[in-house]
């Protein structure tokens, strides 16, 4: 007697639950990674937002800005390095999460999970880290850029209008963070998919 659907099921909510629990079990390490992502994204947003603020200020404010011109090129390099490091951090954390759970993954496969179900768990774990770190970092970076601009160029140039226009960088940064988290999860997710169900019988825990 087979049920209509001939493939094993695993609701998204269950995969999310596994991902959340996976993070919770390793909360200390995950918070560190989260902080790393947040710092890198904050740094990125400071650069992006500052740039936009200068641009939006137009010719009138340029005198006030004087030497404090736009972001020099080498800062973009720093930004790239920061993002690279935070992506590596996420990658590392998820790889560890997979290797620590080889036996559990094998067991899930024995119980009937398909590879895609295992992939979902670690994808969620990674993207969740990326999104949380991204949101945190993007907001902090935005506020820091406003503060920096107001303090150095002058608060009178910081109108609500240009602040609002630059706010779109928050979304951009969250997007960057989520995309990098996805990228970081490719390797661990492939590792998880390749684990044989027989790994359930490994002796070491």
């Amino acid at each position: 007697m087979s049920r209509g659907e001939q493939k094993s099921q695993f609701p998204i909510s269950q995969a999310m639950l596994f991902a959340l629990q996976g993070i919770r079990l390793r909360i200390g390490r995950m918070l560190l990674v989260l902080a790393g992502v947040a710092v890198a994204i904050a740094f990125t947003n400071v650069l992006l937002t500052t740039n936009d603020l200068f641009d939006a200020m137009g010719a009138t404010g340029m005198e006030a800005a004087q030497g404090l011109t736009r972001v020099p090129v080498f800062r973009w390099l720093w930004m790239a390095v920061a993002l690279l490091i935070c992506t590596t951090g996420t990658l590392n954390a998820i790889v560890m999460s997979v290797t620590e759970r080889v036996k559990e993954i094998g067991t899930l496969k024995c119980l009937g999970s398909r590879n895609i179900h295992i992939v979902e768990i670690f994808l969620f774990e990674s993207v969740l880290l990326g999104l949380l770190g991204g949101i945190l970092g993007a907001v902090i970076g935005y506020l820091a850029a406003l503060l920096n601009f107001g303090a150095t160029v002058g608060w009178k140039y910081l109108t609500g209008e240009i602040a609002l226009a630059a706010a779109e960088n928050i979304l951009v940064c969250i997007g960057i963070s989520a995309a990098l988290a996805l990228l970081a999860s490719v390797i661990p997710v492939l590792m998880a998919a390749r684990i044989e169900p027989a790994a359930a019988m490994r002796y070491e825990v």
Binding site: R3, Q6, K7, S8, T107, C110, L111, S113, M201
Partner: protein, 264 residues
Amino acid sequence: MSELTADISGTELVGSLAVIVRGAKKYYYMGAETVKALDGIDLEIGRGEYVSIMGPSGSGKTTLFNVVGGLTKPSDGEVFIDKTDISRLGPNELAWLRCRKIGYIFQTFNLISIMTALQNVTLPMIFAGVDRGTREVRGMDLLNMVGLGDRANHKPTELSGGQQQRVAIARAFANDPAIVLADEPTGNLDLKTGMDIISLLIEMNRQRGVTIMCNTHDLKIIDASDRIVWIRDGQVSKIETKDEIEIDVGTMRQRGTGKSAEEA
């Protein structure tokens, strides 16, 4: 035996068999060396039978477990589980087979640590697509059956080894599998707890008519088995039926081959 040597080239099997292994080989290649983990195994397991696989470590017991359990494909030969030739299945179909047809019991229990006893038992039913209400009811039934109804909401870390193995047994029976495979189920338990686990397995086998194949080198299990298959160097060295075993079994149980009324 004679009817089995008849042609089974189709997927149709003799109805009374849960497992057929024919000439199964599993070779691992390590550099220039070939490790013959299974070297031509023939084995038939009837429905409702309790078969123990005995043999020294390294004899190929675990590889046989993997092959019969659809965890690895044999390098050569055929393995039928409940009329399905597993060598013809793709990964998703294998997952489905593992989900619906096979229950696994491990030496190290392998409960999911973040889930309660009840959640562990209902997990295979999630994979099988059983709705939530039915899952919980059946899960509680199974836990009651293994005597852990009052521990339903405990996590594995809050349970003793024997209790964890009981939960694992309930989990193995969750989707009414055609066969339950146990790999050294008493290996991590003390003598008394081990005996309890064995009697539970016998009870499940006799009452529910579920086929059980048990890897072990625990001689206590001999009592329980309908047949004992001895493996050596990747081959079957001898098969003994219960009657042939020359030990005092005490109160001999009637061989329950039929299913209980509610199962039908």
